[in-house]
Symmetry: C2
Subunit: 242 residues, 2 copies
DNA sequence: TCGGATAGGCGCCCA
DNA sequence: TGGGCGCTTATCCGA
């Protein structure tokens, strides 16, 4: 275990990516408190000192510590302890390693960042450029701007009446309606006008949300999500096409 | 690469955890579309056929596919392709591997699940059991129940007046106030009464949220988060204590 | 399966 | 640094 401790310390000092498959238990204390009993998991220490503990299933780590975590190793009997501490928020995690199945570490070179298309902002942009998606009379004024009324996706008017458009790239629920309502009310208050229209633009909407929308005299406009996989033409659907 | 392909196929067939450190690029198409240029990353295939691609930094995978993803390997020239497909939602990811830095796979045994304390539900329970945290006259009636008024955290009354308590384990923002507002209004409508009190119980609240709360004549009650790390007594803070 | 809500959410951007 | 909010959010839970 002492030898293991040395190797791990050097790897982390050299900012290598560390992969530790092991039988371990985990205790976390910070924003909550949790314990995880003994089992085989992957402990991953990244060069930026993010620490992840992954179970054999699921997308998310069962336990983790954020970037910049302070890590120290202790040998306690025949166990190796990964002692992790972080401030802001103050939290700590202890990984107790009983048996090592596999240990690898490598220095990685990665200069590329993800380029993604199809966000809600892209959807707002499309509506701004194609206002008829909302209505024939809709005239957009500002888009995704930090107006003093808040983060309104698309702001415009229909026949001189202020119109707030809230976009959702997925099916809209109650919280989307609430959000729209907040923007409309803020605009009414700040402009001192009663008549402000509210439009929820999304591919679909839940029943309850529809009802709430109608209660408040807002309206729903069905808009295709900004990006989706075409099952037949998946090969052609490349980022470059957009 | 053919040899590599065989090894990977066998590992996945045998439901092993696969760790592939490699130089790769990734294309994703589904709920959005994205590309990631060449770089060194960890490709992780879990026994449940979740696929993760991790960059050298950050808590989250830069690309991923959900549990149960269909995976096939293709050799294309001197590159290995990981072809991943999933339905519901329909999406696909292609990892193009140019160079392998390290490949390991192991069968894992993990029967333990995380036990965690300190959720919002725990907070609601504490308020239900200690109603004086809200006020001296507060009498709780139901907790975290699917009342016909919705998912109200704690419902009770103060001097005969219905009182809705919405809990947040972290600093409350605008959306928390809106949520409270929705519950209060639903209760007013269903009971046909005007006077329903709204209480937001959280460790703290943002300025805007406070203002909105006061606009609607609701009130804020400062309640400690359900669980937190005591810096001085971190050793004593064990799950068993709660 | 859908709908609603939480999460130790994370990560981004902007004041 | 805090506030507001989107996310390929994921994940849980109830109807």
């Amino acid at each position: 275990m002492d030898e293991l401790r040395g190797k791990l310390s050097r790897s982390i000092r050299d900012r290598e990516m560390v992969l530790l498959l092991c039988n371990c238990s985990v205790e976390y204390s910070g924003r909550a408190v949790s314990t995880l009993g003994w089992g085989d998991r992957l402990v991953l220490v990244k060069p930026d000192r993010t620490v992840l503990v992954h179970k054999p299933d699921g997308r998310n780590p069962v336990n983790w510590m954020p970037e910049g975590t302070n890590i120290e190793f202790l040998v306690e009997g025949d166990e190796l302890l990964l002692n992790c501490d972080s401030v802001n928020p103050r939290e700590s995690m202890v990984v107790r390693v009983r048996r090592v199945l596999c240990l690898e570490s490598r220095k990685l070179r990665d200069g590329e960042e993800l380029v993604s298309v199809g966000s809600e902002a892209d959807m707002a942009r499309r509506i701004y450029d194609n206002p008829s998606l909302i209505s024939e009379s809709f005239k957009p004024v500002s888009r995704e701007e930090q107006t003093k009324y808040g983060f309104i996706d698309v702001l415009g008017h229909e026949g001189g009446v202020f119109t707030v458009v809230e976009c959702k790239r997925y099916k809209a629920g109650l919280s989307a309606v609430q959000q729209l309502r907040r923007y409309v009310e803020r605009l009414q208050k700040m402009k001192g006008v009663m008549e402000v229209k509210g439009v929820l633009a999304a591919p679909s909407i839940t029943g309850n949300a529809k009802k709430m929308l109608e209660d408040w005299s807002y309206r729903f406009v069905s808009v295709e999500p900004p990006m989706f996989m075409d099952p037949d033409k998946s090969e052609q659907k490349r980022l470059a096409d957009y």
